[in-house]
C-alpha cells in the first residue's frame, strides 16, 4: 500500500495549502483575488504531482496515517487512488476556474476568496480522507463556506436558497452521522479500508446485526440518503435549482463542478464498499430513482427560462448517469463479459464525474460572462443571434454546450458512452429509458443554442462585446481540455482503470 509514499506528506500539504491561502487572502484586502489565483494554481500543480505519483496497482498511494483519537477509532488517515487523485485534479481545476471567473466581486473580496479557498480545502480533504471522522470533518468544512458564499453574494432570493441548501445537506449529514455511529458502535472502527475489508467478507453485516439487530438496510439507506442529497438524486434534488440559480455564477461553478462530485465519490468510496449487499437488495428502486433523476432532470430543463436553471437541471440529468452506472453494478451478474461491463460502467462513471465537472463549470462561466455583458440578464428568451456580434464567444460556448450534449469527439461523450456500454448488459430496461433523457437533453441544448446564438440580433445586443484577450486566454485551456479528453480519453482511463479493477475486486454485492 505504502510503496509510493514519499517523505513529504503531499496530501496534507495539498489540503493545508488553501487554508494558508485563505488566511493570507483574508488579510490582503483587494489583492485577495491575486492571492487566491496563486494559491489555486499551486494547488493544481500539487494535485497534478499527486496524479503522477499514483501507484500502478490501483491501490491507495501516498498514505499518511497517524493516531488521532484512538478510543473513538479516529485516525489521521489519508491516501489516494486513481479515483481520489482524479477528483483532486478536478477540484483544483474547477476552483481555479471559479477564482478566474470571479473578478467582479466588489463586496468584501477578501472574505469571498478566503471562503472559496476554505471550500477548496474541504474538497481536497474529503477526497483524500480514509477515516470517517476525518472525511466528515472536511465534508462539513466544505458546506459552511458554500452556505455563506450563497448567502452573502447571491442573487435576490439568496436567503431562502441558502437556507434550503443548508438544511438539506445538514439533514443528509445527520443521516450519515447516525449510520456511522451505528457502525462504530458495532465494529469499533471508522476506517474506510478496515470497514471495506470487513464488508467484503460479510462480517460487517454480522457485527451490526449482533450489536443492533437487523438494521443494516436502514444504515445503508441512511448513508445513501446523505449522499443522494449532495449529488443530488431525485427526489432529494429540490434544493439544487434555487441554490445554483441564486449563487453567484463562480460559486455555482464550484457547486456543480466539484461539490456535487463529493456525493458521487461518497457513493463509490463509502456506500458501495460498505453496504454492497444492502444496495443490491434495493437496487430496483434505486435504479428507478436514478432513471428518474436522468429523465426528470432533462424534462425540467426543457421548461426553464433562466439559463442558470437550465444548466442546473441539466446537471441533475448528467449526474443521473453516474447514479445509473453505479447502481447498475449492483445487479447480479457473473462471467467475464459481465465483469467487463462493470468495469466499463465504473470507468464511465468516473470519467463522467470529471467531464461533467469541467463542462458544467465552463457553462456557468459562460453564463457569468453573458450576465456581465447584459447587465444581469440571463433569460433564455432575452437574447438572440449573438453569433454575429460575438463569434468567438458563441463558438467557445458552443463547444462547451456540445460537450454537455455528449457529442462524440468532445469529452462529454466518452463518459456517457462507457456508462451506457456498461449498463446495457446489466440493466437494459433502465438504460433504455435513460436514452430518453439523452434525447431530451440534446433538445434542451439545441434550443439554447438556437435561441441565444441564432436568429435575428435584437437591437440592444447589436454591440454585444465579444471575448477580450484575457478571457480567451483563460478559457483556452478549458476548451482545450474538453477537446483533448474527447479525443484522447486514455489520458484518464489509463490511470483510472487499475483503480476501477481494484475497487471492483474488493466490492461484494
Amino acid at each position: 500500500m505504502n510503496e509510493f509514499s514519499t517523505g513529504i506528506p503531499l496530501l496534507s500539504l495539498l489540503t493545508g495549502l488553501p487554508l494558508i491561502g485563505a488566511a493570507i487572502a483574508l488579510w490582503s484586502g483587494k489583492h485577495a483575488r491575486a492571492v487566491a489565483l496563486i494559491t489555486t494554481m499551486s494547488s493544481l500543480m500539487l494535485a497534478l504531482l499527486v496524479w503522477t505519483r499514483l501507484p500502478v496497482s490501483g491501490g491507495m498511494g501516498l498514505v499518511e496515517q497517524l493516531a488521532w483519537a484512538p478510543s473513538l477509532g479516529i485516525e489521521y488517515h489519508l491516501g489516494v487512488d486513481g479515483l481520489g487523485a482524479l477528483m483532486l485534479v478536478l477540484s483544483a481545476i474547477v476552483t481555479l476556474m471559479s477564482v478566474d471567473a470571479a473578478h467582479r466581486v466588489h463586496h468584501q473580496p477578501n472574505l469571498y476568496f478566503a471562503l472559496v479557498l476554505v471550500l477548496e480545502s474541504g474538497l481536497f480533504g474529503s477526497f483524500t480522507a480514509l477515516n470517517f471522522f476525518h472525511w466528515f470533518l472536511f465534508w462539513e468544512l466544505s458546506l459552511i463556506p458554500a452556505f455563506f458564499l450563497i448567502k452573502l453574494w447571491g442573487g435576490p432570493r439568496r436567503g431562502p436558497a441558502a437556507t434550503q441548501f443548508f438544511v438539506y445537506t445538514m439533514a443528509g449529514s445527520v443521516a450519515l452521522l447516525v449510520a456511522f455511529l451505528a457502525i462504530f458502535v458495532s465494529t469499533g472502527s471508522m476506517d474506510f479500508g478496515h470497514l471495506t475489508l470487513l464488508a467484503s467478507t460479510g462480517e460487517l453485516e454480522q457485527m451490526v446485526t449482533a450489536h443492533l439487530g437487523p438494521v443494516s438496510l436502514w444504515l445503508a439507506i441512511g448513508v445513501l440518503a446523505g449522499f443522494a442529497v449532495k449529488v443530488p438524486m431525485f427526489p432529494f434534488h429540490t434544493w439544487l435549482p434555487a441554490a445554483y440559480a441564486e449563487a453567484p455564477s463562480p460559486v455555482t461553478m464550484l457547486l456543480t463542478g466539484a461539490m456535487s462530485k463529493m456525493g458521487v465519490y461518497g457513493l463509490l468510496r463509502i456506500a458501495i464498499p460498505l453496504f454492497g449487499p444492502q444496495i443490491a437488495q434495493i437496487r430496483t428502486p434505486l435504479l428507478v430513482l436514478a432513471v428518474a433523476t436522468i429523465v426528470m432532470g432533462a424534462w425540467a430543463a426543457v421548461a426553464q427560462k433562466d439559463l442558470k436553471r437550465v444548466f442546473a437541471y441539466s446537471s441533475v440529468n448528467h449526474l443521473g448517469y453516474c447514479l445509473l452506472g453505479i447502481f447498475a453494478l449492483a445487479v447480479p451478474s457473473a462471467g467475464a463479459a459481465a465483469q467487463a461491463s462493470q468495469a466499463a460502467a465504473l470507468n464511465g462513471v468516473i470519467l463522467q464525474m470529471f467531464n461533467h465537472g469541467i463542462t458544467a463549470a465552463a457553462l456557468f462561466w459562460f453564463v457569468a460572462m453573458i450576465q456581465m455583458r447584459s447587465g444581469g440578464g440571463r433569460g433564455i428568451d432575452d437574447f438572440g443571434g449573438l453569433r454575429k456580434p460575438a463569434p468567438v464567444f458563441a463558438g467557445l460556448m458552443g463547444i462547451a454546450l456540445f460537450s454537455s450534449l455528449g457529442l462524440p469527439g468532445l469529452n462529454g461523450f466518452v463518459g456517457e458512452f462507457l456508462i451506457f456500454r456498461g449498463v446495457f448488459p446489466l440493466a437494459w430496461v433502465a438504460a433504455t429509458v435513460s436514452i430518453l433523457g439523452l434525447l431530451v437533453t440534446a433538445a434542451v441544448i439545441l434550443t439554447v443554442i438556437q435561441k441565444v446564438f441564432s436568429g435575428p440580433v435584437p437591437e440592444r445586443w447589436a454591440a454585444f462585446p465579444d471575448l477580450h484577450h484575457g478571457e480567451r486566454l483563460a478559457l483556452a485551456p478549458v476548451i482545450g481540455l474538453m477537446l483533448l479528453l474527447g479525443l484522447v480519453p486514455q489520458v484518464i482511463v489509463d490511470s483510472v482503470n487499475p483503480t476501477v479493477l481494484n475497487l471492483l475486486a474488493h466490492w461484494r454485492f
Binding site: A69, L72, L111, F136, L137, E140, I144, G159, F166
Partner: protein, 507 residues
C-alpha cells in the same frame, strides 16, 4: 502546584476587595494577572499530570474528630476541568473589561467564585468539596444581582435558592452516607473504596443516590430543575453568564460524577420492576430526564425572541448531553460527558460573550426582531464571524470540540440503550436549527425596519471592537478548534481517570 490556583484566586479576591475605589484600570489588570496566573498554573498542572493517575496534592487532617481531611488531589478529570476554569476565568476577565460600576468589587466576587470552582474540582474530601461548592453560590448571587440586566434581582434570587436547595439535598445525602458508612473518614477515596467493597447497603444507595444526584444535577440544569438556568444566564452580566454556563453548571455535573456515581455504585442498579414498561432503574429515570432536557432545551431555544435566551436554553440542551453521557456508565460515554463539560464550557462562554458583550453592549437590544433590522454582519463583521464559528462549534460540527464530545456520548448511549441516541439525535438536529435561526436573524438578515419599528437611539454608532474582545474570542475559538482537531490532548488525560473512577477508584 494546582492547589495554588485556589489560593491565588482567593488572594486576588481579597486584594480586589481592599483596593481603593476608582482605580478601575488597576483592578482590571490585577484581575487579569490573577486569572492568567491561575490559567498558567492550570496548564502547567495539566501538562505535568499527563500520563499520571491521581496525584494527592495535600492531605492534612482538618476536623480530626469527624475524620474530615483537607484533601486536595487531581486526577485526569480534575485537571481537565481546572484547565477549563482557568480558560473561562481569563476569558471572563477579558469580556468584563468594560465594567465601570464597582469594578474592584466585581472582580472580587468574580475571583472568589473562580477560587471556589477550582476548589470543587480539586477536592477529594466529601466535605471539602461541599464547602467549596457552597462558596461558589454566594458570589454568583451578587454578580448577577448587582451587575446584571433583565430582572436581575429575581433571577439572582432564583439561582441562589435553586443552588441552595440543590446543595441542601446533597448535604442530606452526604450526612446520610457519612452516618451510614461509619467509616470515620470523609475522604472520597476511602468512602469510594468502602462503597465499592460493598460497605454501603444497596437499599441505602438506592434512595441516597437519587437525592445526591438530583441535588447536583439541579446545578447542572437537569430538566425539570433547569428553570434557574435561562433566567440566570440572561440576567447575569456577560462574564457571569460565561462562568455560569461555562463552569458553574459543570460543578453540578462534576458532583454527579465524582460524588453520585463514584460513591453510590449500586444506586443505578435495576429496581427489579419497571414503570411504564421502560423505566426500570434510576439510570433510566435520569437518562430520560437528560434526553428530555436535550430535546426540550433545543425546542424552547428555537422559539425564543431574546438572543440571550436562545443561548441560555441551548445550555440546558447541551448539559443534557453531559448527564446522558454520565448515565451510559460506560467508558466512552462518561469520557464523552467530561469532554462535553469542557467543550460546552468553552463554547457557551464564547456564545455568551458574543451575545452579551460584543452585540448587546453596542446595540442595547437582544431582541432578535430588532437585531434583524440592524444588519450586523455588515456592521460588526467580527461579531458575525465569531458567532458563525461559535455556532458551528455549538452545533457540533466536526473539527470543533463539541463534535468529539457529543459523538462519544452518542456512541456510549447507543451501546447502553439505542433509543437514547435517537432522542438525543433529534436534539442535535433542532440544535442546528436554532443556532442557524439565531445566526440568520441576528446577523445575516436583510430585513429593513418597517415604519413602526423605530430603531433605538444610538444604534448607528456601534463602536469598534476592543482588544480584550479580540483576545477573548481568539482564546476561546482557538481552544475549541484545537481540542476539536486534536482531541487526544484531553482524551488521553480523561480516559484513564474515567476508567479508574468507573472501576471503583483504586488507582
Amino acid at each position: 502546584m494546582l492547589a495554588w490556583t485556589i489560593y491565588l484566586s482567593f488572594a486576588g479576591a481579597l486584594l480586589q476587595a481592599l483596593l481603593p475605589k476608582g482605580r478601575n484600570d488597576l483592578a482590571r489588570w490585577l484581575a487579569l494577572a490573577f486569572a492568567v496566573a491561575g490559567l498558567a498554573l492550570a496548564v502547567a498542572g495539566f501538562v505535568a499530570g499527563m500520563g499520571q493517575g491521581r496525584v494527592i496534592i495535600i492531605d492534612a487532617p482538618w476536623v480530626p474528630t469527624m475524620g474530615i481531611h483537607y484533601l486536595l488531589a487531581a486526577d485526569g478529570i480534575s485537571r481537565v476541568l481546572v484547565l477549563l476554569t482557568g480558560l473561562a476565568a481569563v476569558a471572563g476577565v477579558l469580556f468584563s473589561w468594560n465594567i465601570e460600576l464597582r469594578t474592584n468589587e466585581f472582580f472580587a466576587f468574580f475571583l472568589a467564585l473562580i477560587g471556589g470552582v477550582y476548589g470543587v474540582f480539586l477536592s477529594f474530601d466529601l466535605f471539602l468539596l461541599f464547602v467549596f461548592y457552597e462558596i461558589a453560590i454566594v458570589p454568583k448571587y451578587f454578580l448577577i444581582a448587582i451587575w446584571g440586566s433583565t430582572r436581575r434581582e429575581y433571577a439572582a434570587m432564583k439561582l441562589a435558592l435553586y443552588s441552595f436547595a440543590g446543595s441542601a439535598m446533597v448535604l442530606i445525602g452526604l450526612l446520610a452516607a457519612y452516618a451510614t458508612s461509619g467509616s470515620h473518614s470523609t475522604s472520597l477515596i476511602d468512602l469510594a473504596a468502602y462503597a465499592h467493597s460493598g460497605g454501603l447497603p444497596v437499599s441505602f444507595q438506592m434512595w441516597c443516590f437519587p437525592l445526591v444526584f438530583t441535588g447536583f444535577a439541579i446545578l447542572a440544569g437537569m430538566w425539570p430543575f433547569h428553570t434557574w438556568a435561562p433566567t440566570g444566564h440572561v440576567a447575569a452580566p456577560t462574564a457571569a453568564s460565561m462562568l455560569l454556563a461555562g463552569v458553574v453548571m459543570k460543578l453540578g455535573a462534576y458532583g454527579c460524577l465524582r460524588v453520585g456515581i463514584w460513591l453510590f455504585p449500586h444506586g443505578l442498579d435495576s429496581w427489579g420492576f419497571t414503570l411504564l414498561g421502560f423505566i426500570g432503574s434510576w439510570r433510566d429515570v435520569f437518562a430520560l430526564l437528560a434526553v428530555i432536557g436535550i430535546v426540550y432545551g433545543a425546542l424552547v431555544a428555537l422559539a425564543q425572541t431574546d438572543f440571550k435566551f436562545v443561548i441560555g436554553y441551548s445550555s440546558v440542551s447541551h448539559m443534557g448531553f453531559v448527564l446522558l453521557g454520565l448515565m451510559t456508565l460506560n467508558q466512552i460515554g462518561v469520557t464523552g460527558a467530561v469532554m462535553q463539560m469542557f467543550s460546552h464550557g468553552i463554547i457557551a462562554g464564547l456564545l455568551f460573550a458574543i451575545v452579551g458583550r460584543i452585540v448587546y453592549e453596542r446595540t442595547h437590544t437582544r431582541q432578535l426582531d430588532e437585531l434583524e433590522t440592524m444588519h450586523l454582519a455588515k456592521r460588526l463583521p467580527f461579531a458575525a464571524w465569531a458567532f458563525v464559528v461559535a455556532g458551528m462549534a455549538s452545533m457540533g460540527l466536526p473539527g470543533f470540540s463539541g463534535f468529539v464530545a457529543e459523538l462519544q456520548v452518542l456512541v456510549g448511549a447507543w451501546t447502553a440503550k439505542p433509543w437514547w441516541t435517537f432522542a438525543a439525535g433529534v436534539g442535535i438536529v433542532v440544535g442546528v436549527a436554532y443556532t442557524w435561526r439565531a445566526l440568520q436573524k441576528a446577523f445575516f438578515s436583510d430585513r429593513l425596519p418597517t415604519a413602526d419599528e423605530h430603531p433605538k437611539t444610538g444604534w448607528h454608532n456601534l463602536g469598534a471592537i476592543t482588544w480584550p474582545e479580540y483576545a477573548g474570542v481568539a482564546l476561546l475559538t482557538g481552544v475549541s478548534l484545537f481540542v476539536g482537531l486534536y482531541p487526544r490532548i484531553l482524551l488521553d488525560t480523561i480516559e484513564p481517570a474515567v476508567k479508574a473512577l468507573l472501576a471503583g477508584g483504586g488507582q
